[in-house]
Symmetry: C2
Subunit: 291 residues, 2 copies
């Protein structure tokens, strides 16, 4: 038995000018829709995002269940964010996007020291010190003596450079996470002398896991990836006439060096921690690029 | 003046086996890192996501300020989500991703009625009605008489199909948003008769804006895009042996038909609302694909 359609009962044929969007034509439709804004750069960025996002969906034939899982993942990621925790930056970090954006933004002279990520533990309110100060806050750990030199790409010293350093303790905790500690420790602002040098003593920073109790941690476990960051010393150097350098120093004998979950390690940022009777010594030169 | 580097004071050369990640090599490094999970499909999907996301960043040379704006946008989007509002689904909708996933998931017979998005207003708890019922809830508006027929791809009627309908009122509000209205209206569950038909009366649905007071609304304004959805009747049809059809019926004279912000309109889903002395009449046939 076949239904008899009286006039007007059947489906209306596709109307002239009405695009019939399918998995191929919808991308062009979205691009057309977004092409009328006054912000040209926004249109360029969003257009490229739409093209790549649609290509991704088509390439893997993303299922509705996977799409729903992705919506749930992104929602939980946003809802975990607080002034003290940024799970979306962490997601960007573990997908290599943060370091990629950094690499694209800082196409430096090949002889200049490379950038790495700022990370979430830098603080604008930090103490200033004279060269040679002890910034360990009296916390237990292997004593570490640090001597830093700042030069330009010709090897000439950069005097008066503002050198910020911050790092974790021997348990992998930054000052704000050390139980019983009040105020700042293992962080401070130094200025280089006429010969481009400064120095301080502290304790050796230990490896630590990225925050792994949220959606990003679940993703890392499901992907079989390590959450341990190799131990590192954060360094940020600002000097008039030079590009600001935000970087880290890793230690060459760190067991987690080759699997940094945030891809912050670069060969040129791996330093030797020399062992002495009283502890360890780290000497490193940073090469600033002219602004 | 050039600084004299004593032995051990200079940067350590790149270590053997230590990849020096730059804007080109970081993608491979992220793909390698994620290739050890036990969930093969997750690895495939995440790997493709990373490749396309990195290609996007490189193509537009995403700046650090734009990256930070994107992090803020995603964070606000997640934080606006509640059990009653899903801003990430809305974002997926306006980027055409929801309809694309639907198109990829439902590669139907070319003669079957096309899918559209379910949207956020379907409710599992809705009243059941006999054919011919008035579901308007007594709300003001243009009376609309609806006659629906459900057939298979051979044109044979599908009896006993469960037909869900839901729609907005003449001001563009669904029942839950109508001030002073208690309980359900403009929604209900019907079952087709032996000849595959059912019918009901209600009021004509009006166009309405997508929720535009959040990050997605800001994005739409910045992109110069309309937030108005054309008026539509949601329809979901389930019948044993057939793929569930989730779709919408639009009206051919709707002023917003060609700029649906969520890309839900397809030519075959545009229907004619016939004008009568007592109001409007809508007759439409839906063609179900075999499961």
């Amino acid at each position: 038995m076949t239904v008899d359609f009286p006039a007007g009962h059947g489906p209306v044929p596709t109307l002239a000018g009405m695009p019939d969007l399918d998995e191929k034509t919808i991308t062009e439709a979205v691009l057309r829709a977004g092409s009328h804004g006054s912000d040209e750069r926004l249109g360029t960025v969003l257009g490229a995002l739409v093209r790549h996002l649609h290509d991704f969906v088509r390439e893997v034939s993303l299922t509705e269940a996977e799409w729903a899982a992705a919506i749930g993942f992104l929602t939980r990621t946003g809802q975990l964010c607080t002034p003290d925790r940024q799970e979306f930056i962490l997601l960007s970090d573990v997908l290599g996007v943060t370091m990629l954006v950094d690499a694209v933004a800082h196409r430096r002279s090949p002889t200049a020291t490379e950038n790495s990520v700022l990370g979430p533990f830098f603080r604008e309110h930090r103490p200033s010190f004279e060269a040679g100060a002890d910034i360990s806050g009296g916390l237990p750990g292997t004593p570490l003596s640090v001597q830093l030199t700042v030069v330009d790409t010709d090897g000439a010293p950069v005097p008066g450079a503002a050198v910020d350093v911050w790092h974790a303790d021997s348990a992998g905790h930054y000052d704000s996470d050390v139980v019983g500690l009040e105020g700042a420790a293992m962080r401070g602002l130094f200025h280089t002398s006429a010969d481009g040098r400064t120095s301080f003593t502290t304790i050796s920073p230990a490896p630590y896991p990225i925050p792994d109790d949220g959606p990003v941690g679940s993703l890392m476990r499901a992907s079989g990836r390590s959450v341990m960051r190799p131990g590192h010393l954060h360094v940020r150097i600002e000097a008039p006439g030079f590009s600001t350098l935000t970087t880290m120093l890793f230690r060459e004998d760190d067991p987690y060096l080759e699997n940094d979950p945030v891809f912050g390690v670069k060969g040129s940022l791996v330093a030797r921690y020399e062992t002495h009777e009283q502890g360890e010594a780290l000497r490193h030169s940073f090469v600033l690029d002219r602004a």
